[in-house]
């Protein structure tokens, strides 16, 4: 499998195709020629506006969020030594959702465009901190406790959200519902810059963990015997994975399956060495989410489908296929 599909050329080509698809997709039918004109610095002012201020930032956001989610999923899978782990397993998404719902219910979100992402980020970080604190006993982080603490915290936060939405204004309910399905609409360049300033260093730090994560997949004792500082590695993977997840949720809401499926697919296709899995997941996640976003807004006229629906509808059958192939190969 590895030799038949060399990873970097395949994924880079896929990403370029995804970027072009993203730029070409939208209700205003812009052709390839118009886009080329704009990219060369000229073109029709209307087309410039659409490309540079609507589609451009949106495609960029898909790239960053997709890369962030896939990397976060890869880190969580390595940390929990479980291929079924995903970025939202440990409560980040519920915390962020609670923050977002609070902002919606109190009307802060309507008053200021930054209130919702900020509230989501704060909520996600708070959930991370609580779960982290619970799972740390006597200076050690027990990953089994971590999973339980995360799942239970998620359940509690979901109950809080339901309570707020039941008692809150009805329009908040609808907005919150669509927020939980994820969307990349209306992401500005400024938001992209902030996101990139946050994601790029986190991605680089994650790559530095890859070798220790490889050792950790043999178990904590074996990793320690191979010279890994096990507690430091687990802490770093948890914090980085959670921060990545929190940032992407704050910007784009909850987008499922990318963080689960992408790193897993990369593993099946190109092996389990995290020095490859993590960077390749970034590339693949970026490409997949950009394509998913094009599919969410392209063919449906003025209506946009929540991107989480697309990632699940397309991602799951593809993944099942890959899973069957991977196990029979």
């Amino acid at each position: 499998m590895r030799r038949r599909f060399p990873a970097v050329p395949v994924l880079a080509t896929l990403l370029v195709l995804a970027l072009l698809t993203g730029l070409l997709t939208g209700p205003a039918g812009l052709g390839a020629r118009e886009i080329a004109d704009v990219l060369r610095g000229g073109g029709d002012p209307q087309a410039r506006l659409i490309l540079l201020h609507i589609r451009g930032p949106r495609v960029m956001a898909a790239v960053l969020v997709g890369a962030g989610l896939a990397l976060s999923g890869g880190l969580f899978q390595a940390l929990l030594r479980n291929p079924l782990a995903e970025p939202y397993l440990l409560g980040v998404s519920s915390g962020a959702a609670l923050g977002a719902v609070l902002a919606l219910v109190t009307g802060l979100a309507a008053a200021n465009g930054w209130a919702l992402p900020l509230a989501a980020l704060v909520g996600g970080l708070a959930a991370i901190a609580v779960v982290f604190r619970v799972a740390r006993v006597a200076g050690r982080m027990d990953t089994r406790v971590l999973i339980l603490a995360g799942v239970v915290t998620s359940a509690f936060l979901s109950a809080c959200i339901t309570l707020l939405l039941t008692l809150g204004p009805p329009e908040a309910l609808r907005t919150a519902y669509f927020w939980t399905l994820g969307s990349l609409s209306g992401v500005s360049w400024r938001m992209n810059v902030i996101l990139a300033a946050y994601l790029v260093p986190a991605a680089l730090l994650s790559l530095g963990l890859a070798r220790d994560l490889n050792a950790l997949s043999l178990g904590e004792e074996a990793a320690a015997a191979l010279g890994t500082d096990v507690e430091r590695t687990k802490r770093a993977a948890y914090v980085l994975g959670s921060l990545l997840a929190a940032a992407t949720v704050a910007v784009a809401g909850i987008i499922g399956f990318v963080g689960l499926v992408v790193p897993h697919a990369v593993r099946i296709l190109w092996g389990s060495d995290h020095r490859r899995v993590l960077p390749l997941s970034c590339l693949a996640g970026a490409a997949v989410l950009t394509l998913a976003d094009s599919l969410a807004r392209g063919p449906w006229g003025p209506v946009e489908i929540p991107i989480g629906v697309v990632t699940a509808l397309v991602g799951v059958p593809f993944f099942l296929l890959l899973l069957r192939r991977g196990t029979t190969a």
Binding site: R81, A225, G227, S272
Partner: protein, 263 residues
């Protein structure tokens, strides 16, 4: 490089008995020592404390004179390799990658492996007769092959000390011989300090130059195999009458399988 325990006691969480109690053991460089004893005697605990993987409640474990918990893990892993009796395999990896993990202590987070690292891995594979299996997935290996892969990984650490917990569990007699022969080569040719835990008294008698017999967290007997492997010691340790054979033809003490209580 030598290592040892002085007055080490350890009790696991929730246990009422000591796992090991006031154990004093010193392991000389370039010697293969075997730890023998019944299940629960504290053999594996001794290895873990030596490897700095468990803190002890009392006493001190040292490696080359330095407290084994005070060694930075990475530095210790360049001196000492530990082959546990079981391990997890969360993600499928190929044998070459698996053995390559033995180079981890020499590589920082961002430093890629050099040709020198790759050649160490290649020679560890060759040494353990794993070259032809290098591209196989570890999860598809037989028990004997997996054990060799793990010893290869330990070898790739280029250690001076090798600790092994039941390296021949689940292996047939041929593979068991192969593993012990390999350990003897490491001791003879590379002067490795080897400490192995085993249940095979005959293999320990044949291949180790020192045997430590344990029972209920304490050392029952310690010394050269013929001195330690007596019916009295073995009977005390295992709680079962064990007969031994000695003789010119054997070259070492042997434990035959007999039924009933020997007179």
């Amino acid at each position: 490089m030598n290592l040892g325990l002085s007055s080490v006691s350890l009790r696991y969480d929730g246990a009422s008995d000591w796992a090991i109690c006031d154990v004093n053991l010193e392991f000389e460089a370039g010697v293969h020592s075997a730890l023998l004893g019944p299940n629960g005697a504290g053999k594996s605990t001794v290895l873990r404390v030596l490897a700095g993987l468990r803190p002890c409640d009392d006493g001190r474990a040292h490696v080359d004179g330095r407290d084994s918990r005070e060694w930075p893990r990475r530095e210790l892993a360049r001196q000492m390799a530990f082959v546990a009796s079981t391990e997890e395999d969360a993600f499928p990896v190929r044998v070459r990658e698996y053995v390559g993990l033995g180079r981890n202590p020499y590589l920082g987070g961002f430093k890629p492996p050099t040709d020198a690292d790759r050649s160490v891995v290649a020679s560890a594979l060759a040494r353990t007769d794993m070259r032809d299996l290098a591209e196989r997935y570890v999860t598809n290996l037989s028990a004997g092959e997996l054990q060799r892969a793990r010893i290869a990984r330990a070898l790739a650490q280029e250690p001076s000390i090798l600790l092994l917990d039941e390296p021949t569990a689940h292996l047939d007699i041929g593979h068991e011989y192969a593993v012990f022969e390999l350990l003897s080569e490491f001791v003879d040719e590379m002067s490795l300090t080897v400490v192995s835990v085993t249940h095979n008294i005959n293999m320990a008698s044949r291949f180790a130059s020192r045997v430590v017999l344990m029972r209920e967290g304490t050392v029952v007997a310690d010394g050269a195999p013929p001195d330690v492997l007596t019916p009295e010691h073995l009977g005390t340790a295992y709680g079962w009458p064990v007969r031994t054979l000695t003789g010119d033809g054997l070259g070492c003490v042997a434990v035959p399988v007999a039924r009933g209580v020997p007179e």
